[in-house]
């Protein structure tokens, strides 16, 4: 057998093209070909009624091919964008239109779409469109949203998109009867995903085959494919979505479809020309997505050791103007807040509120940083109130190693029980204390104080629910040349999938690493997938690829064994080796020549392939 590759440190196959400037990102697609460029007119106002849009100054501009507003959209394209992840508690979910109809609800909301010879001309055209607005009072910040003097959506009372409550035990009673209690108010401001490469989409319609090819910088090519097909009235089989190299996602590219992911393909089909949209940084700042913005109120009751007897958390989540991604972020906050701890009882209530700001997508941590912040501040506050070491208070609240699997009695974001499979939190804490020199720190602090320097130390513990389902698939194909082609549907934003997955397959099939080629995020090669988020690619696609490679190996051995009338064969060094069939004249480990020809002609091949 070849040396085991899985887990070995090897150079990434992706790096050669990235380092040589040969990466292929979405704005690089079809460079040098006849490509038209799109630009979008975005609202300069947070909340306004659109009285009139005058595009007359643009219609005759040389080099302009398309000027669309909502009035130009028909059928499904004129309907709101999909609400991707509905939830029973999301009683007032709202999504935007591809181009605003009647009203804009955040600065940056798309109003008009222009396609021109190049981006410069497209932006010139955008500058000539005149929009009459009737200003509406904007709702900015959670306080204004809660007060609800003004509404973001006239038909959403109190600006409340959702209210959700989970409880395990009777937290309020436990707090009331606890020896000690505290309350804290904790606020986190908004932040943005901000990948180095913004969003971008290229589309080409082929009238001869009736197929649409879409390249888009996304974390889910299959999701975009489904949306494009549904919105443009095409069969799924008529739409190919290819995710080329992606310059970072961080959550903003898991939301889909963005307006441009529909408008660009629509324009490409209408014009019969290649159309490209490349988001610029200003657009990304004002019109993509945010996360994090939440206000939390904590009530906690605890005993003399700092053991939490009851924890009652209320928080308010700023979901922006629309809720395409449902309640994923606040649900993660509300459940993952508990981290490695086991409060005697826990109640959490949140409201997801509308404001006149960009929407929320799960960004790097996806609600978990907020939860961790709240819990760890609470632990520090208990320690401070009791005059105890912060690690001691954490320690007494840990789930113990012999308590796994541990069921928190809550429902996680994927609709399943929040159950931890395993862990040893005391060991982790001991390790970090040793590494950071926790117990020696007071002496160091005194030493620094003598020099007039003030130094501090802090720590935080968290548990992260990753590798979420529900599924990924894989296709493993062994070419007659011996090269192995592997495809999985989720996308890649620099994680090194092409390297890691090739390691897996090379190990299973016993072929050289260099002979394995991995394709991700291309619906032509693997049309069934979810996407890349929550550290799930290696777990989900890695497992699928391992299973598929194992199946392929079984097929190879079954056919070959029968064709060669040999009983025991193994794969190694990229070739079949007969281990123990002396009748054919081979010894252990001897390579069998002419296998390919004999297998090709074998009658069972079709049966096994089926």
């Amino acid at each position: 057998m070849t040396t085991k590759l899985f887990g070995e440190k090897i150079q990434r196959v992706e790096d050669q093209r990235f380092l040589r400037g040969n990466g292929r990102y979405v704005d690089d697609v079809l460079v040098g070909h006849d490509v038209l460029h799109a630009a979008v007119l975005r609202s300069p106002h947070a909340h306004a009624r659109i009285v009139d849009i005058d595009v007359s100054a643009v219609l005759d501009l040389e080099g302009v091919h398309v000027v669309w507003t909502h009035d130009d959209l028909t059928g499904a394209m004129a309907e709101p964008l999909p609400l991707l992840i509905p939830h029973p508690q999301l009683t007032h979910g709202r999504t935007q239109y591809a181009l605003a109809r009647d009203e804009v609800n955040y600065v940056g909301e798309a109003i008009a779409f222009v396609v021109a010879d190049d981006r410069y001309v497209a932006e010139d055209a955008i500058g000539r469109i005149r929009v009459d607005y009737e200003f509406l009072p904007p709702v900015v910040g959670l306080e204004a949203a809660r007060v609800a003097e003004h509404l973001v959506h006239a038909d959403v009372p109190g600006n409340v998109a959702a209210r959700m409550e989970q409880e395990n035990g009777d937290a309020r009673a436990a707090i009331a009867s606890a020896p000690h209690s505290l309350s804290l108010d904790l606020t986190i401001e908004r932040s943005a995903s901000m990948p180095m490469e913004g969003r971008g989409t290229v589309a080409r319609w082929d009238p001869d085959t009736g197929r649409l090819t879409v390249w888009t910088s996304t974390q889910t090519s299959t999701g975009v494919r489904a949306a494009v097909a549904a919105k443009l009235g095409l069969d799924l089989a008529q739409v190919d979505v290819i995710t080329p190299d992606v310059g970072g996602g961080f959550g903003v590219k898991i939301n889909h479809p963005w307006p441009e992911e529909l408008l660009v393909p629509l324009a490409a089909r209408s014009l019969g020309r290649v159309v490209k949209f490349t988001e610029d940084r200003r657009e990304h700042f004002i019109s993509s997505a945010h996360e994090r913005g939440q206000v939390h109120h904590v009530e906690v009751g605890y005993d003399d050791d700092g053991r939490v007897l009851g924890l009652d958390v209320q928080f308010w989540h700023d979901n922006g103007a629309y809720t395409p991604y449902g309640l994923i972020v606040p649900i993660i906050t509300s459940t993952q807040l508990l981290g490695p701890y086991k409060p005697g009882s826990y109640r959490v209530v949140f409201e997801s509120l509308y404001t006149n700001t960009v929407m929320v997508t799960p960004y790097r941590g996806a609600g978990r940083p907020q939860g961790c912040y709240v819990m760890e501040r609470t632990m520090d506050a208990i320690a401070a109130a009791l005059g105890k070491d912060r690690t001691e208070v954490r320690s007494v609240n840990f789930i113990q190693p012999d308590e796994f699997p541990y069921d928190h009695g809550l429902v996680f974001q994927d609709g399943r029980e929040l159950e931890y499979d395993s862990g040893d939190y005391p060991a982790s804490l001991d390790k970090i204390k040793a590494l950071i020199g926790w117990d020696e720190f007071p002496a160091y602090q005194a030493e620094m104080a003598a020099q007039g320097r003030r130094v501090g130390i802090g720590l935080a513990c968290y548990v992260e629910g990753t590798g979420v389902g529900p599924y990924e698939g894989a296709h493993v194909h062994i070419e007659t040349t011996g090269k192995v082609k592997v495809a999985t549907g989720l996308t890649t934003q620099g994680q090194g999938h092409a390297t890691v997955f090739a390691q897996l397959v090379a190990d299973v099939l016993g072929v050289p690493f260099e002979d394995v080629e991995v394709v991700t995020g291309d619906t032509r090669r693997m049309p069934y997938a979810v996407g890349t988020f929550a550290s799930r690619a290696a777990v989900m696609s890695g497992s699928a690829i391992h299973l598929a490679a194992t199946r392929a190996k079984e097929k190879v051995l079954k056919i070959a064994a029968d064709a060669l009338e040999a009983r025991l064969l193994v794969l190694g060094d990229g070739r079949l080796a007969r281990v123990a069939d002396r009748e054919l004249g081979g010894g252990p480990g001897r390579l069998v020549e002419g296998v390919a020809q004999r297998v090709r002609e074998h009658r069972q091949r079709a049966e096994v392939d089926g």
Partner: protein, 166 residues
């Protein structure tokens, strides 16, 4: 509204190109879309992120803040020009590129070309940087994936490789 076009001669990676561009065309767009040299990436379009950095007469310049018509007199080096001739079609990785490969100094690769060009110029000025020097050298470039630790290591390793090759 027909824009006046200018004949511009751009010398990029030792090769002279003739392009006809409007005065407002950015050097970054001319390199990428007119010359097809898509290795230079555009991250922020206002000089902050450094992804579009190219060398003009050996000095790092933001190609998103420079007009193509103003680059006529310079010798431009892009990421595609950092590989070294070794008789193969693709060439051999230059010291900085090689160091990034060895130190895992990149993930998504989008910011990488700007780092490679910036560090190439930086090591020419300071062939023996300390870790602080390395951090200072890359202070004008943003990366969202790596957290910079491996990029700093790459700078130090690149200096080593360059010395080994000298």
């Amino acid at each position: 509204m027909t824009e006046e076009l200018h004949e511009v001669r751009l010398v990029v990676n030792g090769v002279a190109h003739q392009v006809r561009v409007p005065a407002r065309r950015l050097l970054s767009d001319a390199l990428r879309h007119d010359l097809g040299l898509t290795g230079t990436h555009v991250g922020c379009e206002h000089g902050v992120c450094g992804a579009c950095t190219v060398l003009v007469d050996g000095r790092p310049m933001r190609s998103c803040l420079m007009l193509a018509v103003s680059a006529v007199d310079g010798e431009i080096t892009t990421v595609e020009g950092l590989t070294e001739r070794d008789g193969t079609a693709e060439g051999r990785l230059g010291p900085v590129q090689q160091a990034f490969a060895e130190c895992h100094g990149l993930q998504c690769g989008f910011c990488t070309p700007g780092f490679l060009t910036t560090i190439t110029a930086g090591l020419r000025d300071n062939p023996d940087p300390t870790e602080d020097d390395a951090r200072d050298m890359i202070a004008g470039n943003l990366c969202r994936c790596t957290g910079y630790a491996n990029i700093v290591r790459s700078v130090l390793r690149a200096a080593e490789i360059a010395r080994e090759q000298a």
